[in-house]
């Protein structure tokens, strides 16, 4: 089982979620994060001081999926979150050695 972690632009969240639902993904977890990368932030003004905002608002989506689905999930995120502009974000895949559904105690694939 894998954990797919995607850092995307916030306004792409709904699109990504729909793309994933279409693949049969039934759950995911979303976190508001700030990203630092090649994309440069806008400049904020404050009483004469100017701050170039180096951290930009991003959204982190975490989806635990069975190994068989990983590839399609990654691909589908890559497509739906893409705008072609710098700052579109990254996808990372991590190993999950065990998963449990709290309500039922089901494990691994059944837990998703």
């Amino acid at each position: 089982m894998k954990m797919v972690v995607a850092i995307i632009k916030p306004f792409k969240l709904d699109e990504v979620r729909e793309a994933l639902t279409a693949l049969g993904v039934q759950g995911l977890t979303v976190t508001e994060v700030k990203g630092f990368g090649r994309q440069k932030g806008q400049t904020e003004i404050y009483r004469g001081a100017e701050y170039s905002v180096s951290f930009l608002p991003k959204v982190k989506v975490e989806i635990a999926v069975t190994d068989s689905l990983v590839e399609r999930v990654v691909e589908s995120i890559q497509k739906s979150a893409n705008t072609g502009k710098i700052g579109d974000g990254k996808i990372f895949v991590l190993d999950v050695s065990h998963a449990v559904r709290i309500r039922t105690g089901e494990t691994n694939a059944e837990a998703l």
């Binding site: 904020e44 003004i45 404050y46 009483r47 004469g48 001081a49 905002v53």
Partner: protein, 448 residues
Amino acid sequence: MTNTKRLATRGALAAAAFMAFAGPAFADDAKIDTGDTAWMLTSTAIVLMMTIPGVALFYAGMVRKKNVLATLMQSFAITALISVLWMVVGYSLAFGEGGAFIGDFSRVFLSGMTWDKPFTLGSGDGAVAFTIPEVVFVMFQMTFAIITPALICGAFADRFKFSALLWFIGLWSILVYAPVAHWVWHPNGWLFALGALDFAGGTVVHINAGIAGLVAAIVVGKRKGYGTENFSPFNLVLAVIGASLLWVGWFGFNAGSAAAASGRAGMAMLATQVATGAAALAWMFAEWATRGKPSVLGVISGAVAGLVAITPAAGFVTPGGSLVIGVVAGVVCFWASTSLKKALGYDDSLDVFGVHGVGGIVGALLTGVLAAGALSVTDALPEGLQGLLEGNPGQLMIQVYATAATLIYSGVASLILLKIVDAIVGLRVSEEAERDGLDLSLHGESVQ
């Protein structure tokens, strides 16, 4: 009539103007005017609203999240503190008969204050008669005594000890605010006698608070991270609410300073509105032109700068004059709060000096330039109170003098008080407390 005497008369009249151009002292059985009293009660309420929640929010909206509550706390606690101090001794020192420099103890605990007949301030030739009872005058003035020290706090926001604040502000109110108010607004006061024009408190309130703030910001030192970290405001919404309530309440401040529900009050209100709108636009366009975007913080700062600058002038200038004052104040205060501050390198956190100090000076001087005699004609002074533009350069000199006197006295006295308080309780929180934020470290609370 020698020139000096003429000026003295002019001074008395200036203040009398401020005091609603009242006639001779009323006979003992005179009745208070209910309309004037209604307006002064209202003005008192909305000037209180300028401090809580006005200044409280204006300042709290500009600090970082970890200091929001501590900033609100300053204005609120000062309101409570001065409410008591003013009653105990402040009013007596400011408006007791006394001499040229300070009042006396005749009104300690407000003993001897009357409440059921019209009030006459001072005695003899210079006395100023009102149509409202003394108790209402005491209350109206109290709200000025509250807001002035509350304004100072913006200069040392984010790093001042709360205990030090109570000491400093308490002493400052008694030893700086009360005397300066006496100088300018009591018929015995030396600046009153000199003929300084200050309709609603340009010197007493704004220059006074502005210079005290600057001195305090320098004495207490810069915030950790100043110039390198991003100090941008946590929640400007609060600052916009604060600025808006300041604008609304300022009608009580300026039009209330006519001390009557009169046409003069209306003129002061109009001047306030026009100058404020003009200053907000001026700051906005100046920023837009030089930084590329018109910021919300800019437009509200401009509005406050306009309100400050029109304060001494409100009852003495035409709508056109107000427009000029507004535009100049907007541009100059923008420059003072950005370029000048940067150049001089002090850390006046929320630009108390840049807005109140500089705006107050702009207003005080332009009052000397733009005062329109027609607005203050009386039988005793048929040409009214005229400024430079109407051929009276003397008035501008007096304004310079009054401004300088306030800057020097308030600056020096504030410095001494700060050093004393520093010696006793220490002015600045620990580095760790500053880093964790004053909300948690001083008050054990936080905005979630």
